[in-house]
Symmetry: D2
Subunit: 355 residues, 4 copies
């Protein structure tokens, strides 16, 4: 089908679980998408209510929450992990295409689910089919995809920061990702940790014993580097430490990534590799100075800033994005655009709401 | 010219002083406006620099700051007050239309400038011509306007809250506007008051001796009420107390407005008057519950919530908006759309970036 | 007993419900009080746990949460309203003195409880005995008090702002209190409203249909004014509108209070009245400029700033305090100091943690 | 002199430059110090003004800013770096003892000043005499010290986190310190970076090309490890990468420190080493869970949390403190207490203002 026809023809879409922050952001982005026609939004707890009464920030969205998807050709699933897996299987069986924002189909190896997600994967056969939807690397596979597993917010920031260097063989395989996230990354569920009075004027680390986003980062870094045929990566297991932090802001992730530079890799080489990697990317921008998460607020942008600590022979790459957009809903729409061979940027904000 | 033709034909526009927060927000909104073609952005201090290097949040804006306006048919002026007046006169003399975001042409009575703005107005003749650009009340006058004086952020919130009640004769003429503003309202200039460590975790009142936005509120309230022919308003001078406050957030204004209800005015009457006033407004929404500034972040929306304190015979109206959009840049674009008979919502975000 | 002896002799005290924010702040203040010896802290949910493991900010408090008070001579009760009433009765019956931070004994008229607190008061006889513990006005009654009912955080701010003017007959009896509170005022219980991502970068009003702190303000304003024998106040019912707002900070209340000035009351008279009222107060300070809540953070201070809006014949008084200290725990300790004829400032911080 | 006598005898102290945040916090701490008698506060720009009018948060401090120190026996110098050096020399020459909060005397090697601080050190002879005032390691040297150079806020956090492991030979000499600081760390001077609207809802890294606090960390880590006689450290130059970040809060530093564990070092060994190191420290606490900066707000506490990432053979140590207290003014008072053989905790808050 030609691009022209696609733009003419509307594609019906649904959001499954429109009441979490990922789902809400999908609603905002899809409200004006020129091709995707948002026809259904599910939410068990709010079924029957007008979306605009639950979310007054969307006063023009003329839809009510429903219990199930009945009509949409494409479903965006924004459920918590375990809940997503079953519903995704049903949606696929009913002939729909699915963009899943949960972790339910991100790991290729079903054996990893019990350790990291505390459940046996009930649909392991789909793990191989699912396309890991980091659009910048998944582009060729998306048009045929039935099921896209969108990366987590942390992996998006880490992969966009480190994959170019690893793929180009610039660094050793010992990596540290020290990430700082806004509180919305922890979702809308009430916990003491996201109580305003507790989270405000505070910074803390968490997940020090191992965070569930780490295996996903490792899997994709190895895959991208292997594809680039760097033997060192294939044979040496990645030594990847990932430490997430909570910082007192609503949105944004800043990932500060550290790696040991290989001998004789210059700062110029590093810069060139990143420039070549991202030159034509609509949403990934090479920053001239250390990036601010605020540059990305409300947009699908990710800024990447590679720099060399020459005193210590290290590569440091800082990346910044809006965790609910490039780290979730925006990436999902970006993938969906590619699934339907639409212009990749369709309906996606490319400017940060600054300040 | 028909609407169809307008959409076809691009209109060249300029932003004068694109480095303040009002100017920056204009750049964001105009970057993708389907009719207005942003061709020039001035900024004395940054002339020659790429806009995207000064504001990385606008990575796709392919423009450099210039010193003057040379080509644009329409100029948005986002200068500080006194600086604006002279430049606006020049722009008009050169045959351009102007939407001015400063206070330079908001007051009809030139005699008020020395007291409130500390200067003698050098172009008093234009004060009469200027249209006060509160779009919801200025709509009929905008298509012919050469010069539109956009309301301040506080007056926008106060007028949208109080004008319906005053115009309908529901309230006495003693008014209190207690407004809470985010820090961006104070601009990008560095002061101890907007130093993060001073403004964070703090609330304070200011301008208690009289704030320069008060005469503008009074002028327009009287004008709107007079137009509605309520003698009581004409003859009784408004007793309007306005107290602005700084609250620790970047964007948003919440105005809590108090007035004495006239006898026998019921809550139902109040609600009906507000519903009738705003029923067809694209950006002003009657809220079902007390509104949150966060509902409006990043959008041109204003929520209005009228309620009756029956124990004390008072009307309380709470309004919420984004001070940089409906309170500044968005309102300017809304007026400009009307100046060119374009659809009023063209290029303006109608959804809040929530949370 | 002489003051000297009191300082020698330690007085055993307990905190009932040490896990809310009021209770936690009591623990911090009492940890080093030179006379009060904190021997017990109750908390049903955490009984048996070390206080320092639940609250790492108190690493030196060598106490475990218990279920009941067994030894203390004086109990500070920091329970939610209804829960407090029963326990306070028991504590008194067991011969202890009580400083109650709940609303359970603040209203003299038992008939008000069903409307405002949704329960029939089970110990109405105690309402008459209870001393309303706004220390600045309750001083003479405190040394003999068995039961002190500490004012709410909002009433403390409003009363310190308005009582002097009302008592001196400077103003009419139509009052508006527009108060802005940090989120900790809503307590430690989890609600969507105090979720970080919802409360951050947001301001909203609530309780517009009538807030339960209003009758308490009205009761005490009338009492203070009556004591000062101003007939006008006695006979005219106060027309008091109170609108609380939530602002994105953890601590602090700013109350902006409006009243109509009586004819011929000058700004000088106002200033003099306030100066005379607060001249010798250790914790209430007349501000030279509009006060900031940040000045009070972590201290028992309240700043009061009366000003005259002469254009409109209004008195505006702004007050600022830390809602958990002068608005709760600090006030409780201040009252307790007076109950035992100790120096009023004992153990209370008189400096704000700034910035 | 016996401790008893010291407590009897008041020691006169001065704060040089009481208008920065470090100086202001010194004023707060010294206002009630039981032995140090604050007799002078200098500030060129505010000379003659009452401290309490410049800083209303200190309403009881009955002092005026002066231009010079005339009487005090001990001076706390809270000037920017270069300015401090000259004044410290004068103060010492006049026979006073000095606790300097600047970096002017922190580096032993005068040759480092031109690179990192952009000036030739004018008093290099004093560099050897100065005691680096990290109280936990400087204790034996402080009683005789004439000049104490207080560590920077970042080095305090990093050294307390890493020194035990390095001194005990648990880790290799490749270190990464990823630190997150509140905005007050950047001082009270106005910059675009600490403008509220720019810093709020934002995280960013800075100093990626090398931050001036890094050489100080390296110097002291080597010194402490050398003292513990671990040859590996002596001979291998430390490979220390330090990346500071700005997070949207006023106070607090969280340092997340990474190092490669030596073979066969177990998590138990790590915990034991840290427990032994800090067992008797009044201000350094081993945390049971990852620490929060909020636990330390307003206090001189530092929480340290060592943990082993066994999948990757890394030690991760997280430390948290209040940058203006344990990272500046509190540490200075702690050192001064030790200089006069006073109890180390005198006048220092040991409880965080939470929440």
């Amino acid at each position: 089908m030609s691009r022209q026809e696609n733009i003419q023809k509307r594609i019906t879409v649904a959001v499954v679980n429109g009441t979490g922050y990922g789902g809400l952001e999908l609603l905002r982005l899809l409200a004006h998408h020129p091709v995707f026609d948002l026809v259904e939004v599910t939410a068990r707890s709010e079924a029957g209510k007008a979306v605009s009464s639950v979310f007054p920030s969307l006063p023009n969205l003329d839809l009510r929450f429903s219990e199930t998807v009945e009509r949409a050709e494409l479903a965006f699933v924004a459920l918590p992990d375990h809940a997503a897996v079953e519903i995704v299987s049903h949606l696929l069986a009913a002939g729909r295409r699915v963009v899943d924002l949960s972790a339910g189909f991100r790991l290729r190896d079903a054996a990893l689910y019990p350790r990291w997600y505390k459940y046996e994967h009930p649909a392991a056969a789909l793990l191989e089919e699912a396309i890991y939807g980091l659009a910048e690397w998944a582009r060729p596979d998306l048009p045929e995809a039935r099921l896209v597993a969108c990366p987590g917010c942390y992996p998006t920031a880490a992969l966009l920061a480190l994959a170019p260097a690893l793929a180009a063989g610039l660094i050793e395989s010992d990596l540290i990702v020290d990430a700082k996230s806004g509180v919305s990354g922890a979702g809308r569920t009430l916990t003491l940790g996201n109580h305003y009075s507790e989270a405000n004027e505070d910074v803390s680390a968490y997940g020090l014993g191992g965070h569930r986003h780490a295996p996903e980062m490792r899997q994709e870094l190895v895959r991208i580097a292997s594809a680039a045929a760097h033997a060192a990566v294939d044979n040496t297991p990645l030594r990847l430490t990932f430490t997430p932090h909570l910082v007192p802001m609503t949105r944004g992730i800043l990932a500060t990534c550290y790696a040991t530079l290989r001998p004789d890799v210059s700062a110029e080489t590093v810069r060139t590799v990143y420039e070549q990697t991202y030159r034509d990317e609509p949403f990934v921008r090479l920053a001239e100075t250390p990036p601010h998460t605020k540059w990305t607020l409300g947009s699908n942008l990710c800024f990447v800033y590679p720099t060399v600590d020459s005193d210590n022979g290290r590569l440091i790459v800082v990346s910044a994005l809006d965790n609910l957009i490039k780290g979730a809903a925006g990436q999902a729409v970006q993938c969906a655009n590619l699934m339907y061979r639409l212009p990749e940027t369709l309906g996606l904000p490319c400017e940060g709401v600054y300040p």
